[in-house]
């Protein structure tokens, strides 16, 4: 009997210890669940609120922009198909652009030609070869011409990240201004380059804060828009405008070699540019 009582005592002890361990386990689980609820849920609730608001704003913006799309894109598509997409006509325009650049800079003595513009045709492309000593200003013009080749609008001159930053600012500051931003994106690059201040002021009219303005200024400065603005004030750009040679097709650099001259601000340049035919 004493032995049975001892066995019972041991069993009860084990059971008690098990219950104590179980209760400690469930206490720690309670603490874990409640602290997770606090640590995870509070930021999540904030995110949900922000995302729901962003979703509502963007849906409104989509409704606003959808109304103007058809009208706006028809003209842009025509221009791109006629002048920019690879074709024999587009190639001729691009060659004319390069010839104008050579003529202007020879005339202003910013260039000494060693090998004039020489073309070689293949089934898919035209290769343009040229060699000359160039003053920095002539070289800078050439680089600008290549950098903005094929670009038609302000939209095309910005990277996807830059556009997203502007649109996120629009969502935050003035969602209805999406139509003004849409118009800004659709401005032909050459028009923007000639009157950048005017177009920027027009879009800023819909924003009261300084943040959008500062961001836009920074983006303009760090994109092909600034290249276009700087180029627009050059003599070559003015003559290209008179000849109505904008927009022009893509110019892909195949080879570009530059050797610094002993004469300050001069370099010897040799390049081969590809003008795609298809």
């Amino acid at each position: 009997m004493i032995r049975n009582k001892n066995i019972l005592l041991i069993a009860e002890t084990i059971l008690t210890l098990t219950l104590v361990v179980l209760s400690m386990y469930y206490v720690t689980e309670h603490v874990a669940v409640l602290s997770e609820a606090q640590e995870v849920s509070i930021p999540l609730v904030a995110s949900v609120g922000q995302l729901e608001q962003q979703k509502t704003v963007m849906q409104q913006q989509l409704d606003l922009t959808a109304k103007k799309v058809m009208r706006r894109t028809e003209l842009a598509d025509e221009q791109v198909q006629a002048f920019i997409l690879p074709s024999a006509d587009a190639t001729m325009r691009a060659l004319h652009v390069l010839e104008t650049w050579v003529n202007v800079n020879e005339r202003t003595q910013n260039m000494r030609v060693h090998t004039p513009l020489t073309t070689k045709q293949t089934a898919t492309s035209t290769y343009v070869y040229f060699k000359a000593d160039l003053h920095s200003s002539a070289l800078h013009e050439l680089e600008s011409i290549i950098a903005i080749s094929g670009l038609y609008t302000v939209y095309d001159a910005l990277s996807a990240d830059q556009r997203l930053v502007l649109l996120e600012r629009t969502e935050a500051e003035s969602p209805a201004a999406i139509t003004e931003v849409e118009d800004f994106f659709a401005v032909p690059l050459i028009a923007f380059a000639v009157d950048a201040e005017g177009y920027i002021s027009a879009v800023l009219r819909s924003f009261t804060g300084l943040q959008f303005s500062n961001i836009l200024a920074s983006i303009v400065q760090n994109s092909a828009l600034q290249t276009a603005i700087d180029f627009a004030s050059s003599q070559t750009a003015k003559e290209l405008q008179e000849l109505d040679l904008f927009p022009y097709t893509f110019m892909h650099v195949h080879r570009f070699s530059q050797v610094e001259s002993v004469v300050k601000d001069w370099q010897s340049v040799e390049f081969t540019i590809i003008l795609p035919l298809s």
């Binding site: 005592l9 009860e12 002890t13 008690t16 219950l19 104590v20 179980l22 209760s23 469930y26 206490v27 309670h30 669940v33 409640l34 609820a37 849920s41 999540l44 609730v45 995110s47 949900v48 609120g49 995302l51 729901e52 962003q54 979703k55 963007m58 913006q61 989509l62 959808a66 799309v69 706006r72 894109t73 842009a76 598509d77 791109v80 198909q81 920019i84 997409l85 680089e143 290549i146 950098a147 080749s149 094929g150 038609y152 609008t153 095309d156 996807a160 556009r163 649109l167 931003v181 849409e182 994106f185 659709a186 893509f250 110019m251 650099v253 195949h254 570009f256 070699s257 530059q258 610094e260």
Partner: protein, 194 residues
Amino acid sequence: MVHARLLRRSLRTVHIFSGALTILLVVSYYLVLPVLAKIESNGKTYSIQDLQSYTAELRSEVLQLQQQREELLQPVQVSEYYDQLKTVQSTKYVLDFVDFLYKKQSVFTLGNEQLLRFTQHTIQQENSVYTMRLQGEVSADATIARRVIPEFLSMVSVAYPQAILQNTHFSSVTTEGREVTLFTLHFAFYHDQK
């Protein structure tokens, strides 16, 4: 025997208490806690898992809306145009890189003298890759050149991480009694870089 009886009585108390506590905690964990841990947002209640799923769903919807908006804002709707544009953007990236290099060479000076000078570069495009060979000199002995060039390369890699340095070559010459370190750097760029 007295000890055993005392032990048995104490144990029984602890046993009843821990049993009751465990039952209460189990009931609380499965029935009460899920209700307490629910979160309310915009008039609806969610568990943490539901809230996490809902957040992921909202993020995905916002991304889709961003893409739709981007497509609507595109002034040109000809897809072939944007394919060609990517190549031009790569060219511009390389030209901007060259511009950056030539501007940065004047950063490295000793007294009034410019230490780093680029003399020549060649850009070449083959298949989908642009490569550039850049030649220059450091107007100083190898000890200084070994500091200047890594510092310059570090500046380049921060500003243009997509310009991959593939090869380097250095040599020293003495010109008019001064040691000059000549270098050639080979970079590669890829068309899908921003």
